[in-house]
Symmetry: C2
Subunit: 122 residues, 2 copies
DNA sequence: TTCCCATTTGGCTTAATCGCCAAATTATCA
DNA sequence: TGATAATTTGGCGATTAAGCCAAATGGGAA
């Protein structure tokens, strides 16, 4: 059986679009903050609102975007709606990007130090 | 040494914003397609343009967004500019989201089948 | 130098996103 | 049932993103 170049197929394009939707959903500070909180367990909307500090309606819309992308699920219990993470691997990816950003910051300050040394020293 | 709740600190907010920028950069079908291609090795702009099919200027702007987020790096060699992935863990996260989406699709068709059985059977 | 090729930048139009308010919805409790 | 609390939805103005064209930039070759 011959493997077809994946980027040429319509199915692959659909997959890429669904994956891009996941990234897009995570690509907002408030949403990412909520998702990070959800890596520690389920939370109701009111707890997440307290965390991000925006209007409740704004928070609710953010959550519906995350749900639409399949990143979280919601469950109504009593008067509250509890959200929880369905895409567990966000957690490890967040760890990796955190390390990546730290490294970039370190490299940057190293470069700046080198530049300063050049200026004054020689 | 006491651990402070991370979501309260300014440093944590900056980290979240930088991480959200990474997600936002990846949250576009053309950019994600290019990044996926780059998981297989470096590519020049012209190759990536052929892949996504948009105007070269559009592709170039997409690439500068990815570069700004720290996802890729560029290197000028001769007449061409070659882009390569700097955030290697995108690869495993893409695999995970791919499985996640497949699973969701399977669950959906299962639910539909169950619904159809209910309708006709009982 | 001059031409050409690959890439980037500026500018502009259209579309999508954000965040708030107000109103609708749904559940609990008295 | 009526009041209250939690959440979602509709809608609006303001900001930002996307994509194309045209023009600028920079390197290599003639």
């Amino acid at each position: 059986m011959q493997m077809i170049a994946p980027q040429r197929t319509a199915a692959h394009r659909r997959l890429i679009e669904a994956q891009a939707e996941i990234f897009k959903a995570l690509g907002h500070p408030s949403r990412l903050l909520m998702v990070e909180e959800l890596t520690r367990g389920e939370r109701c909307v009111c707890e997440l609102q307290a965390l991000v500090g925006s209007d409740v309606s704004t928070v609710s819309k953010h959550l519906s975007i995350l749900k639409g992308a399949g990143v979280v699920r919601d469950e109504k219990r009593g008067a509250n709606v509890y959200y929880s993470l369905t895409l567990g691997c966000v957690r490890s990816f967040l760890e990796c990007t955190g390390r990546h950003i730290d490294q970039a910051a370190q490299d940057l300050s190293q470069d700046l130090a080198g530049l300063a040394a050049l200026r004054s020293g020689k």
